[in-house]
């Protein structure tokens, strides 16, 4: 497997900058990735190099990540996989650098802005109640798949116009895509996803509906409709972005909440504080690590980045940086001036962030209204997934089913 080979250390990397971490398999990460990355952040250096997975830098501090993510002149989005996938298929707009990026991004932004998401409020509530209905009387569930994933993925599939009866199949593809697989397998899955999106395109071109796929096909970019290729790479990105991000963020939030009964009661009686809970959870439990590839040589905080170097911004611990948030390991919804970049920063700031936040808020509110007290099932074994998108694969919860 590609990930087991250790690359030689390039000459521009100094020995004291090397820390040996396999982001997919390191046991420290698999025991709890946020705590592990926080330990790397505390131990320093702020920028280090691991020889695993083709060799790449890891950035652990908020301000350095922010500098890199806002500097597409030196740090390009053209390669977004670690190890490198070297695929000719783009993710539009994610893998485009300015100035090509904005015109595609604008088309998507329009469908994910506050107004569009606010119009979905009833749907978000309906899906929450529908899914909680399935488990409430049982008194226990594996939150991760049954709710954490089912909720945002169902909403997303409905919004896109993807057939809900293929839920399991699509979810399976995405889970495998982000797990520790070979690049060859990842390329195969890429083909599969693209096939799904292109079939949908065919259908909606013939018979447009009210869904996002139809709307995107009707959009104009500088006066022209999206070409098949452009649509394909947008669809590929939305498929991956929509099917395995909120799922993890929501599961992380409930992992925390399950162990904090005081916060459960507080949020149940003060639902107006849910937005703060969502932000605090995103600060403590980010999901996405963001890669960049060096396009132009540059020096930053004592590290020399050469053309072609892969760089991974550890966004999930940016919010735990003590240089940004005092007492960062404390989960505190009353925190003032909270800083996190779970949705990245700069030109590629997550387009789905308004939707993601609304989903996390709406779901938590519905849950606490119906199940105000719950806990981790005793003896529950937590299984974390490392890699670029962090996940908790199981989260067994229990509560009094009597009501």
């Amino acid at each position: 497997m590609a990930t087991e080979t250790i690359s030689s250390i390039p000459a521009h990397v100094r020995p004291e900058q090397v820390v040996d971490v396999d982001i997919y398999t390191d046991p420290r990460l698999l025991a709890g990735p946020h705590a592990a990355y926080k330990a790397f952040q505390d131990a320093g250096p702020d920028i280090f190099y691991t020889p695993r997975n083709g060799g790449h830098w890891i950035i652990t501090r908020y301000d350095l990540m922010s500098t890199i993510l806002r500097d597409p002149e030196h740090f390009s989005s053209k390669e977004l996989h670690i190890p490198r996938l070297n695929s000719p298929v783009q993710f539009i707009p994610l893998s485009l650098d300015p100035p090509d990026h904005a015109r595609y991004r604008a088309v998507l932004l329009k469908h994910f802005d506050k107004k569009s998401i606010a119009a979905m409020a009833d749907k978000l509530r309906l899906w929450a109640d529908r899914l909680i209905d399935r488990v409430q009387a049982r008194g226990h569930c594996d939150f991760a798949e049954e709710l954490g994933a089912a909720y945002p993925v169902s909403i997303f599939m409905e919004m896109m116009g993807m057939p809900l009866e293929r839920f399991e199949e699509f979810r399976g593809i995405v889970l495998e895509y982000f797990s520790n697989i070979s690049s060859e397998r990842r390329l195969q899955l890429q083909e599969t996803i693209i096939g799904v999106m292109m079939d949908l395109r065919e259908q909606r071109l013939k018979e447009p509906r009210e869904d996002l796929i139809s709307k995107l096909l009707a959009e104009r970019v500088r006066g022209e409709p999206l070409t098949a290729e452009e649509f394909q790479s947008m669809g590929y990105l939305l498929f991956l972005g929509g099917l395995d991000t909120v799922a993890n963020a929501l599961t992380f939030a409930f992992y925390h909440l399950a162990g904090d009964p005081a916060l459960q009661s507080r949020l149940a009686s003060q639902p107006e504080r849910l937005p703060d809970f969502v932000e605090e959870s995103l600060r403590m439990y980010g999901v996405v690590h963001q890669p960049r590839i060096v396009k132009k040589q540059i020096e930053l905080a004592g590290a020399r980045f050469e053309v072609g170097d892969m760089v991974m911004c550890a966004l999930p611990v940016a919010g735990r940086d003590d240089r940004k948030n005092p007492d960062p390991e404390r989960f505190d919804i009353d925190r003032q001036d909270r800083q996190h970049i779970a949705f990245s920063i700069g030109a590629h700031t997550c387009i789905g962030n308004v939707l993601a936040r609304a989903e996390m808020r709406t779901f938590t509110e519905a849950w606490l209204r119906r199940i105000p007290n719950f806990r981790l099932a005793p003896g529950a074994k937590l299984e974390w997934r490392g890699g670029s998108i962090l996940a908790l694969t199981h989260l067994p919860l229990e509560w009094h089913a009597g009501g």
């Binding site: 990026h101 015109r103 991004r105 932004l109 329009k110 506050k114 700069g346 700031t349």
Partner: protein, 107 residues
Amino acid sequence: MPRINVTTRSGETLTIDATAGSSLKDALMDGGVQEINAVTSCGGCCSCGTCHVFIDAADFPRLPGMQSQEDDLLYVRDDRQPTSRLACQINVTDQLDGLKVTVAPEW
């Protein structure tokens, strides 16, 4: 110090002292107009639209033109007006003294 006259979303008007060399978005924020900065902001990278402002028509010609990226982002908006700009893309200079801007509705 260039002075900027601002009308906020609620219709309140105020005058702020801006620092030449900063972006108009930063100048507005430093002057206390926090509504220009949403939690969904891209951090001034011409990619989110949350810093959308309308420039007073009489002042508009005083601004340097916009890059294609800014135009692309504004292109899809229903609430775009002929004098729409993204504040993060405007560099405050002494020549802009007295500029009148209105914060556009939220995106």
